[in-house]
């Protein structure tokens, strides 16, 4: 959700993925050469070592067609790089292998390939671990495992590694300039990223590039703007967090707090909050139900003064020893682990109070409207040609760049203000996606995008309720009620069952309930 930085913070648009950016604005070769000359090339020993730590990752990806949830869209292929780490595993980004139907690893110089599987993936933190499937387990035996450079600091010279088509590794120096908190590739999931300056040139098939500090892995390149020559790098600290979290086989992800907050720069607002004479603090404007903050007793109207001993300024930043001003989001999501208790100093009714906030993670599927969905299709159900599914934000995004103004208003409302629907007991929004014209749907062809409230008299809180309710038609007829026009429709149960059988023969399946 609007997890942390929702209301009054900067809105960050991730820069175009590297491959695209470079294809558009390729820099003149001369400039690149200059850049390389002016920096210290990594010594030969390092190069040799790094070369042995890189593999190509080739993924074929296919996502579900949300307008026809029983189908997948046409596959596309993404080529990128991975860094070999301990345990004969390859680290790459989640973006690289999300929705992958086939993944293979390739040794750059020899071109040797092996089919691989994804063993861990975190879409929010944009990280994934890939390894060759069992029969090829010695595939990586001549590869060296990279260690993490978690202590990189602004000013450090980093090297971005690419591999040319002929298998030759190429490194380009960039200067680490600052740390900032930004979203990687899933909306509203904010993490620390390094920003680095330096000109990069595109060397084919390079999505996700390992970035090294000396001979250790400092991060993975997320995006590069050829216009500004700025790289965004997913840092080793987040990688380390990911690796530690998945080590015990029980992956719990990165914690979320679940508040929206407002800055307190406004003097009149500070006075109103009783903050005069104090410094900093941010105003909690909303606490999500079932969130870590709610469960630990944080309330709307509280002012957060400190997190884990770090004073929070009026903009919502703290002073990070390594990076300077950094969003407090990092103190919640980046540093602690799920299950940790972090002390919050708050101001409530003019009194300071310490609250221990036990951090949890809210998974995408725990939201009323899943903010993202990968490697699975939406739950859906077809009734005689009426296609119902659970609403997800990727569905809303089908309405294009201006989806926030073009998608149906009630569906947008469910995404933006889930509380009003959760209050009614809804776990998911089940809506009529489309109507396949059949004898059972006669007269209903133009009904769509309406939210189901009841089926055969039973409240519908998710698709599985609907499957259950459809077991009890009244006098052979299903009654389906909506929150909007046309209010009620009726479907002949045996005709619908018959048509479902025909559809099953044509499209394979008429429901996905898990």
């Amino acid at each position: 959700m609007k997890s942390f930085l929702a209301t009054f913070l900067f809105i960050l648009t991730p820069i175009a993925a590297f491959a695209e950016a470079s294809a558009d604005g390729k820099v003149p070769a001369a400039e690149v050469e200059n850049a390389i000359e002016s920096a210290d090339p990594p010594d030969a020993a390092t190069e040799n070592l790094v070369e042995k730590s890189l593999v190509r990752v080739n993924a074929t990806r296919q996502s579900f067609d949300l307008t026809r949830p029983w189908e997948k869209t046409s596959p596309d292929r993404r080529l990128g790089l991975g860094a070999v780490i301990e345990g004969k595993r390859v680290l790459t980004t989640a973006e690289m292998v999300a929705n992958a139907t086939y993944v293979e690893l390739e040794i750059p110089d020899s071109g040797r390939k092996a089919t691989a599987e994804v063993v861990a993936i975190d879409y929010e933190a944009n990280l994934a671990l890939v390894r060759p499937i069992e029969s090829d387990s010695d595939f990586l035996k001549d590869r060296r495992a990279l260690k993490l450079a978690t202590e990189s600091k602004p000013g450090d010279l980093l090297h971005v590694w690419q591999i040319e088509d002929n298998g030759t590794p190429v490194s380009t120096p960039v200067v680490f300039t600052r740390g900032e908190v930004t979203s990687y590739f899933v909306d509203n999931a904010f993490f620390l990223a390094y920003e680095a300056n330096g000109t990069l040139q595109y060397h084919g098939g390079s999505f996700t590039l390992p970035v090294l500090n000396g001979n250790r892995l400092a991060g993975m390149l997320l995006s590069y703007s050829s216009k500004e020559q700025v790289s965004n790098i997913l840092p080793a600290t987040i990688i380390e967090h990911f690796l530690r979290e998945q080590a015990d086989g029980d992956y719990r992800g990165f914690p979320t707090l679940g508040i929206a907050f407002a800055q307190t720069l406004d003097e009149q607002f500070r006075k109103y909050l009783g903050l005069n004479g104090r410094e900093g603090g941010i105003y909690v404007s909303k606490v999500l139900k079932q969130s870590s903050a709610a469960k630990s007793g944080v309330k709307p109207g509280d002012v957060i003064l400190e997190i884990a001993g770090n004073p929070i300024d009026a903009r919502g930043n703290y002073d990070d020893p390594a990076f300077g001003k950094l969003s407090m989001s990092h103190l919640v999501r980046g540093k602690p682990f799920v299950g940790d208790e972090v002390p919050f100093k708050i101001l409530r009714d003019g009194k300071e109070k310490i609250i221990g906030v036990t951090l949890e993670r809210r998974a995408a599927e725990d939201h009323l409207v899943d903010p993202y969905m990968f490697d699975r299709g939406p739950k859906f159900l077809i009734l005689g040609g009426l296609v119902f599914q659970e609403l997800t934000r990727p569905y809303l995004k089908l309405y294009g760049d201006n989806w926030q103004s073009r998608a149906p208003i009630k569906l947008l409302l469910a995404d933006a203000q889930p509380e009003r629907f959760e209050k009614e007991g809804k776990k998911k929004i089940v809506f009529l996606t489309r109507v396949i014209p059949t004898p059972a749907t006669l007269g209903y062809e133009r009904v769509n995008s309406v939210i189901v409230t009841k089926v055969n008299g039973q409240e519908i809180t998710q698709v599985s309720d609907m499957a259950e309710a459809l077991k009890s038609p009244v006098d052979g007829i299903h009654k389906i009620e909506f929150d909007d026009f046309p209010g009620i429709i009726y479907v002949d149960a045996s005709l619908a069952a018959q048509i479902n059988e025909q559809l099953k023969a044509q499209i394979g399946t008429v429901e996905r309930l898990k």
């Binding site: 609007k2 929702a6 209301t7 009054f8 929206a260 407002a262 720069l265 406004d266 003097e267 009149q268 607002f269 006075k271 109103y272 105003y283 404007s285 909303k286 926030q404 103004s405 208003i409 009630k410 947008l412 409302l413 933006a416 059972a440 749907t441 006669l442 007269g443 209903y444 133009r446 009904v447 009244v474 006098d475 052979g476 007829i477 299903h478 009654k479 909007d484 026009f485 046309p486 209010g487 009620i488 429709i489 009726y490 479907v491 002949d492 005709l495």
Partner: protein
């Protein structure tokens, strides 16, 4: 105006329809007052003079070729208007001018389109072949059906002129003539064509009302608006809208006799009382399962009530899932039509011809039982939110640089209000009964920058929920709450809908800044609340 039949289905059509931009045929006047008037008439988009306009000569091959004197009851109407600016509601407004056509209906009374004389400051009427302008008064103006009645200050100016007679609804494919003062020349123009279609359609003057229209293929051009469409020497319609040539060819619309007669009857008592409405959105009963479930015989009769608006005529009477079998004894087919005089027309046509306080009888099917119920018809007010407003000064309150305005279609368009919350409240105002909680939706539209509000950027376009704990239901509430604060209230605390923080301003600072802001931004009055 029926909150129509098959509402949602109609909506998607309507959107497409609107992008075609129905043009109102009221011509803009050239600048004659030394101001750039021609550039300031966005409400009446001038249509590029098409070939059709050039062809509009007096038709001589009709029976009884005439001189222009036989059209002496037909007049040119020139209107100077003052269009308010909802972005700066305290300003005087923009001057504009336009012209259209009208006709004498007897007793110094003239009929024309509402849009010809909307937002009027000054109206003049000119006779055929007489350059003298006669000053006119607007007696009645009906924005919901785009008709207006005028009278001249000089009540003897048309003595001896034969008024025009009102005829009947013309037959499909019958010949009609359009007479008026469109662009292309100064003198009267006649074009002719046939009746192409008789159908319910949106009246684009309000943008929210549907009534019967008649489509004709005679050329209708800017300036024809308000002019008579004639058949057998009688008026069978008032030319009023059409598509620009870029969209559809030879597609003009007239307001047919039933709508004209209704208007004339309505104003007989000296005031216009508007259309009444069932305020029911209905849904077809074409699916056999619907009929089985409801226990209806498969006879093609009956339409289902999808929603009966509580604020409408049937709010207390009908429920979702009821079936309407007949209206005033006329059976309603399962796609919502009734048969009158051999013609299938929308069932709302029955209601269309009624007046406030009239009673109709609905035959309703509920729980497999049939019963008759009398419905006293009344106007459905919530729909007005989505109708374009005219002849009104925008209401507002400006306090500490914050400008509060009640939401309506004019405001939505002027401020380009695209916030999800605002769009929801606007679009679902009637169906989700938003008006119960918020008779007016108060939007903080603009912040006039000043030192005291410099941290409030980003709050523009949000909906005001409470001020100092008090619920805001109307623009008057805003003014009353802000002006009647107690001495111990140190802050003004404004809660807006959404998940942000409250807007907080120190009262002392606001009081001190108010005059300064008024001066800086030339806001003569810090509020206008009407009556």
């Amino acid at each position: 105006m029926p909150k129509c039949a098959r509402l949602s289905l109609a909506t998607s059509f309507m959107k497409i329809f609107q992008t075609f931009c129905v043009v109102l045929f009221c011509a803009g006047l050239p600048a004659t007052h030394g101001q750039e008037l021609t550039k300031t008439q966005p409400a009446k988009p001038p249509v590029v003079a098409s070939a059709a306009a050039v062809d509009t000569a007096v038709i001589t091959d009709n029976p009884g070729p005439g001189s222009s004197s036989r059209y002496e009851a037909i007049v040119r109407i020139e209107n100077s208007s003052l269009v308010p600016d909802y972005r700066t509601p305290w300003n005087y407004g923009r001057d504009s001018a336009g012209s259209g056509t009208g006709f004498l209906i007897g007793g110094n009374k003239f009929l024309t389109n509402a849009h010809v004389v909307s937002d009027s400051r000054l109206v003049y009427v000119k006779k055929v072949g007489d350059a003298k302008p006669y000053r006119a008064r607007i007696l009645h103006i009906a924005h919901d059906c785009d008709l207006a009645m005028l009278e001249l200050e000089d009540d003897s100016a048309f003595d001896g002129v034969e008024p025009m007679q009102i005829g009947e609804l013309p037959q499909l494919d019958s010949l009609v003539k359009v007479v008026g003062f469109p662009i292309g020349g100064e003198r009267i123009s006649v074009t002719s064509g046939v009746v192409s279609r008789i159908d319910f359609n949106t009246y684009s003057h309000s943008g929210a009302d549907l009534h019967l229209t008649v489509q004709i293929d005679a050329a209708i051009n800017p300036g024809n608006s308000g002019g008579p469409v004639i058949q057998d020497g009688k008026v069978v319609g008032v030319a009023f809208q059409g598509y620009s040539g870029a969209v559809a060819q030879n597609t003009g619309y007239m307001i047919p006799v039933p709508v004209i007669k209704r208007f004339l009857t309505d104003v007989e008592d000296g005031s216009y009382d508007h259309y009444v409405d069932l305020a029911v959105s209905d849904f077809t009963l074409l699916n056999p399962a619907q009929r089985d479930a409801l226990g209806l015989p498969n006879d093609g009769i009956g339409i289902m009530v999808a929603h009966a608006d509580p604020a409408g005529s049937t709010g207390e009477i009908l429920e979702t899932g009821d079936v309407l079998l007949a209206i005033d004894g006329l059976p309603i087919s399962s796609n919502g039509l009734v048969t009158i005089a051999g013609e299938n027309v929308d069932m709302n046509e029955i209601v269309e011809r009624k007046f406030a306080g009239d009673v109709i009888v609905l035959t309703v099917w509920r729980d497999r039982k049939k019963f008759d119920v009398e419905v006293t018809l009344k106007r459905f007010l919530p729909y007005l939110l989505t109708a374009k407003q005219y002849d009104k000064k925008p209401r507002y309150v400006m306090h500490g640089g914050l400008v509060f305005q009640p939401l309506d279609r004019n405001l939505l368009n002027a401020h380009n209000l695209d916030d999800l919350q605002v769009r929801y409240l606007y679009n679902y105002y009637a169906t989700d009964e938003i008006y119960k909680e918020r008779p007016e939706i108060i939007v903080l539209t603009t912040i006039l920058p000043d030192a005291i509000n410099s941290h409030l950027r980003g709050f523009e376009k949000s909906v005001v929920d409470r001020i100092n704990g008090k619920k805001v239901r109307t623009i008057k509430d805003v003014n009353r709450i802000l002006k009647n604060m107690k001495d111990d209230e140190e802050f003004i605390e404004i809660k807006v809908l959404g998940e942000g923080r409250p807007i907080v301003m120190e009262r002392a600072l606001v009081s001190e800044a108010q005059d300064r802001i008024k001066k800086t931004y030339n806001v003569l009055n810090d509020h206008y609340l009407a009556d």
